[in-house]
Symmetry: C7
Subunit: 76 residues, 7 copies
Amino acid sequence: MTQNQPIKALENSINDMVTVKLKDQRIFRGRLTRCDMIMNLTLADAEEIDEEQVKAKYGEVLIRGNNILWIQIPES
Amino acid sequence: MTQNQPIKALENSINDMVTVKLKDQRIFRGRLTRCDMIMNLTLADAEEIDEEQVKAKYGEVLIRGNNILWIQIPES
Amino acid sequence: MTQNQPIKALENSINDMVTVKLKDQRIFRGRLTRCDMIMNLTLADAEEIDEEQVKAKYGEVLIRGNNILWIQIPES
Amino acid sequence: MTQNQPIKALENSINDMVTVKLKDQRIFRGRLTRCDMIMNLTLADAEEIDEEQVKAKYGEVLIRGNNILWIQIPES
Amino acid sequence: MTQNQPIKALENSINDMVTVKLKDQRIFRGRLTRCDMIMNLTLADAEEIDEEQVKAKYGEVLIRGNNILWIQIPES
Amino acid sequence: MTQNQPIKALENSINDMVTVKLKDQRIFRGRLTRCDMIMNLTLADAEEIDEEQVKAKYGEVLIRGNNILWIQIPES
Amino acid sequence: MTQNQPIKALENSINDMVTVKLKDQRIFRGRLTRCDMIMNLTLADAEEIDEEQVKAKYGEVLIRGNNILWIQIPES
């Protein structure tokens, strides 16, 4: 996987805080602990956010890549 | 499958209690007994939860991976 | 297919009564007579259930796997 | 394709009357004349049924498999 | 492609008038001029029909196969 | 790619004005400048049309093929 | 990848400002920093736009290709 691949930007964010928007409009925020080529990923200390409020805390969450709209990652 | 793959985190949760959110917004809670690479999984002692209430109990349930939004797993 | 594959749990349920929830929220109940790796399956003596009432009886039904949310199977 | 494959049950129904439920909740009834592995199929003397009334007659219809929820087939 | 494949029935309808129902419930009617294995097709003299009225005329239209629900073809 | 392939009709329309209907019911009109086998395409001088009014002008637009319902092309 | 491929037009836009429309009707605007063959891409200085107003600023965002409707790119 070359350096200018979008997925590489996700790999570079391992251990950073990321925000994940899902197709059902829910937002998760947490520390990225794992990811793969199809954007399956795990978050530690995951929070579900609704209208900028923390709605629930989940500890560790595995999110299925095909339901992700976008991921906010730290600026490179 | 290397240790930092998201699916590996699911495999590590076999025999643990997990919470599964489906695309239709239903939530299942149960003990993870089987899983595969595309997140098909079986839960023992499965409960369907709606607005934090147990809505139904199903014994053993096979959930199709492509309909899963996220899975809460024990913290590693 | 190894013993801990989720699909194996479905194969083990051949000839047992199962409950199948579809993406359109309809529920089918019947005796599992055939299944394959992508969860296509046939039910004998199939009943369509709506709000815990039998809505229709279909004899034998072939259900397309990609529309299945979950399948309740006998406890192993 | 072995005898216990679900698609085999469809093949066995060639020339029989079948009922096909589509994802858009429409129902077609007709004589199955052709089918393939992904459930593409053709019906002769096809009728579209809505609330148990014949809504339209189409002669021969080719239905795309990926939009099929289930198919009622003759009991084997 | 053997004679009893559903797609073969579509190929046999080249130059015939067909009616195509799309997932968004729109209906196109026109002369089938091209088709492929995944039901991509072109219609000449295409009309878009809504509630049995011609809503628009498009000349030649290329329809993407994955959005097709069903195609009415001439009886074989 | 043989001459009677539907995608060939799209290739033949390079540099012609085409109208593209998307799954979200939006319509784009512009000059076709590029296309590929899965109907990804670029339009120059692209206009978004809503109820037969030009709603927006975008210059050059890349449209993802999987979201296309149909494409009106010049009559061949 | 030949010069007349639609994806090539996206690659040519690296470091340019682009506008991305998603399936959920949200619009992102930012500087394209990475892209791949299935339209996964990263934007720097990304802004989410709703009814022509900047609704949120995200820094760097990774957008999953399969949820993209279209991308406005600089005229070539």
